[in-house]
């Protein structure tokens, strides 16, 4: 098995917590993983991405080749499109609906959504809304997103739950449960809307 994922967002949105849970999930189950991330200047509100590779075989490159990603998981709608050159034929785009507008020339929302809806395989999800309304905490939107992407990630769902558990162990049972709830809510949405 082998899954190559591009995580996308804007500096400060916290895509690295998604990467951390995935990384834990992979490592604790003896899978190989490499995850390249963006540190430095672009973390000041610039576009950031993380290349996440999970495989039961040896992984060489830290970067995913063009047309190599099985999945683009974006916590921001414009950012998912930036990485289309990396998407495999038949790959999925799972993106949050809430725009992060910190530039004057941000595209029109309708146009943006039309571009996303023109993709062959996509899930467009309002993770912020689901996090607030169904999970009861807006900050859990990252794990709603991971849940929404989970049907397209070739590792057992329980591994992801375990990953979140391991990640938030120190923060207590409530935080763990909240984030696992977010994971389930996201997955359900994707199953219903893919």
């Amino acid at each position: 098995m082998k899954t190559d994922i591009i995580l996308a967002g804007v500096g400060g949105q916290g895509i690295l917590s998604i990467a951390a849970a995935l990384g834990k999930a992979a490592l604790d189950n003896n899978l190989n993983m490499k995850q390249a991330e963006t540190h430095g200047m672009s973390q000041r509100g610039g576009d950031v991405q993380s290349f996440m590779r999970i495989s039961d075989e040896e992984i060489f490159s830290d970067l995913i080749p063009k047309k190599g990603a099985d999945l683009i998981l974006s916590v921001e709608p414009m950012e998912c499109l930036r990485y289309l050159p990396y998407l495999k034929e038949g790959g999925y785009v799972v993106t949050n609906k809430t725009p992060f507008i910190n530039i004057p020339n941000y595209p029109e929302i309708e146009e943006l959504e039309a571009s996303i809806k023109a993709l062959p395989n996509y899930v467009l999800i309002d993770a912020d809304k689901i996090a607030k309304e169904e999970v009861g905490n807006g900050r859990a939107f990252n794990f709603v997103m991971l849940g929404a992407a989970s049907p397209f990630i070739d590792i057992p769902f329980e591994y992801l739950e375990d990953g979140i558990r391991a990640l938030f162990l120190k923060k207590g049972e409530d935080i763990v449960n909240m984030n696992i709830k977010a994971l389930h809510a996201g997955r359900k949405f994707a199953e219903d809307n893919k």
């Binding site: 804007v10 500096g11 990467a19 990384g23 834990k24 490592l27 190989n32 993983m33 490499k34 995850q35 390249a36 991330e37 963006t38 540190h39 430095g40 200047m41 672009s42 973390q43 000041r44 509100g45 610039g46 576009d47 290349f51 075989e57 992984i59 060489f60 490159s61 830290d62 970067l63 995913i64 080749p65 063009k66 047309k67 190599g68 414009m78 950012e79 499109l81 930036r82 990485y83 289309l84 050159p85 990396y86 998407l87 910190n102 530039i103 020339n105 941000y106 595209p107 146009e111 943006l112 571009s115």
Partner: protein
């Protein structure tokens, strides 16, 4: 064995801890910062009380580390590539003194300039100093190289340069961690003159260094970090340096690589392996992340034609490598990729909402526009983002500290006014000596030290300048009346403008210190305090 999920930089830090270092000396800089931060957070490092505080700059870091080596203990120095320019004087001379306790200089290069002013290749410095260089290809090797580097440094009596690049620095993988060594006992060099570089002694020491070259090459030949892989197809041989090896293998993940390959992670080059490759193969492809250092070296001035890489255009002359570039170099067909849709707008980094630098630039623009453009010299830090819209306030950013001295030179040339904008940490890194020059000549420049009490661009480390800026300026001879401290917030806008105007008109050196803590740091500190209170309450 249990694996730890570590960034490349963290693997190096763990390797150094396990090698028994007694100190890490560093100044932050992307992509090297997290090496020191990892050690600062490490339980063992705290328990052993390994030296781990930030230095004022890379030169002071390098020198302190060399002092620790002199005293017989192991020390690690970390910096980004341009930091080695600052530390270069000590670095070059440390090759001549040699080491006592192991000393490893870890330098993180940033090809493609993700967060840097240039993409210089530190392997050139390794060659320049004539010392061994390690260039791990993955996270596990980074851990092992770090441990090995200290052994090598002590057995051959030389500083060792460890060179990494952004993608290894900031990529995570599972790393198996080995046994930890104890720290060295304090012991002085057996030759008491080793570190006295008076010409007569330096000549001897330099000969020693030259005589060691053969041993360095022997080490490259024999350690497991360089490997020769025999291939069936002799039409091409490949020299794959550092992470270039990964991009090569990525293109053969489903089949065996048909070509012979020398994987290079230690320099000087393993001559026997390279000779064998050159003899057996018709053509050589050199894959290296950064400058065509090796390619140029083996191709030579006579430009042997059967060597291809960055110099003949097989690979791009600049920028970092990636699997797609290597794919093309191997002659595989390239994917026609779907382009990024046109509506996707670039999203450059920007100053945070509420950042104090914003208030400084708003005021500065208002004042300086009455004089004309092109009169503000700046420096390196978050405030460099003042070059971008909506501010477009600054006209130079070159190297740390250059804002003050460039403003001075421009004033000497007759430009009026000349204003410098520099951060608190950059000021104590390399701004102080330039200010002294200006004071000594009473050059009419206005220096704005935009003090957010933090080294923010690299993640909010403790600034050496904290609580000291006024006294430093006074000590350097800036007149007390022309050291002006105020709080940059929107409601003080008029006052800030008035002060800038007054000091710009003053015919001597003035320093304005707009001081307000970095909002990111304030938020982090508040969170830490909340957590601490919650813990105390339980």
């Amino acid at each position: 064995m249990q694996k730890h999920l570590l960034l490349g930089v963290e693997a190096i830090a763990q390797g150094a801890i396990d090698a028994g270092i007694s100190g890490v000396y560093a100044y932050p800089g992307t992509p090297s910062t997290e090496i020191t931060e990892y050690i600062q957070e490490s339980k063992i490092a705290n328990k052993r009380d390994i030296h781990r505080r930030w230095a004022a700059n890379e030169k002071t870091a390098m020198e302190s580390a060399l002092g620790m080596s002199y005293a017989g203990k192991r020390s690690l120095v970390c910096m980004k590539h341009v930091g080695l320019n600052v530390a270069a004087d000590c670095f070059m001379n440390s090759a001549v003194t040699g080491s006592n306790g192991g000393i490893v200089v870890t330098v993180a290069d940033d090809p493609s300039m993700h967060s840097s002013q240039n993409e210089q290749d530190s392997r050139v410095y390794g060659k320049f100093a004539q010392i061994p260089v390690l260039e791990p290809s993955n996270q596990q090797e980074a851990y092992e190289c770090a441990k090995y580097a200290f052994e090598l440094s002590e057995t051959l009596g030389t500083p060792v340069l460890m060179r990494i690049t952004t993608r290894l620095a900031h990529s995570r993988a599972g790393v198996e961690v080995g046994e930890a060594k104890l720290e060295n006992e304090l012991h002085l060099p057996s030759n008491p003159k080793q570190f006295i570089l008076l010409p007569a002694i330096a000549r001897k020491q330099y000969r020693l260094l030259l005589n060691k070259q053969e041993k360095f090459e022997e080490a490259s030949e024999n350690t497991g970090f360089n490997k020769y892989f025999e291939g069936k197809d002799k039409s091409l041989g490949i020299i794959a340096c550092g992470i270039g090896y990964n991009y090569l293998m990525e293109n053969f993940s489903s089949e065996e690589c048909p070509y012979s390959v020398v994987k290079v992670s230690q320099y000087p080059l393993p001559r026997k392996m390279i000779n064998k490759l050159a003899e057996e193969c018709d053509k050589l492809l050199v894959l290296e992340e950064g400058y065509p250092v090796i390619e140029e070296f083996i191709k030579g001035y006579l430009e042997k034609e059967n060597i291809i890489g960055r110099l003949d255009g097989t690979l791009s002359r600049d920028g970092e490598l990636n699997p797609d570039m290597v794919r093309a170099a191997l002659g595989f067909s390239c994917h026609t990729d779907a382009p990024t849709p046109e509506l996707v707008a670039p999203r450059p980094p920007a100053l945070c909402e509420g950042c104090s630098h914003r208030d400084v630039y708003t005021a500065l623009n208002e004042v300086i526009n009455t004089y004309g453009k092109g009169r503000v010299f700046s420096d390196i830090g978050c405030y460099t983002l003042g070059a971008l819209p909506p501010y477009e306030s600054i006209y130079t950013t070159v190297d740390m500290g250059a804002s003050i001295t460039m403003a001075k030179g421009a004033t000497d040339a007759g430009l009026f006014p000349s204003v410098s904008v520099i951060g608190d940490s950059t000021f104590t890194h390399s701004g102080m000596t330039g200010l002294l020059d200006a004071v000594n000549e009473k050059t009419p420049i206005t220096v704005i030290i935009s003090d957010n009490e933090s080294i923010s661009m690299t993640g909010g480390q403790e600034s050496s300048a904290k609580g000291r800026i006024e006294s430093i300026c006074e000590g350097l001879g800036v007149e007390k009346d022309h050291i002006r401290v105020l709080m940059p917030v929107p409601k003080n806008h008029d006052e800030l403008c008035a002060v800038i105007k007054e000091e710009v008109e003053y015919k001597g050196v003035s320093v304005i210190i707009p001081r307000r803590v970095c909002i990111q740091k304030a938020a982090r500190d508040a969170k830490k305090a909340r957590v601490a209170r919650a813990k105390a309450g339980k």
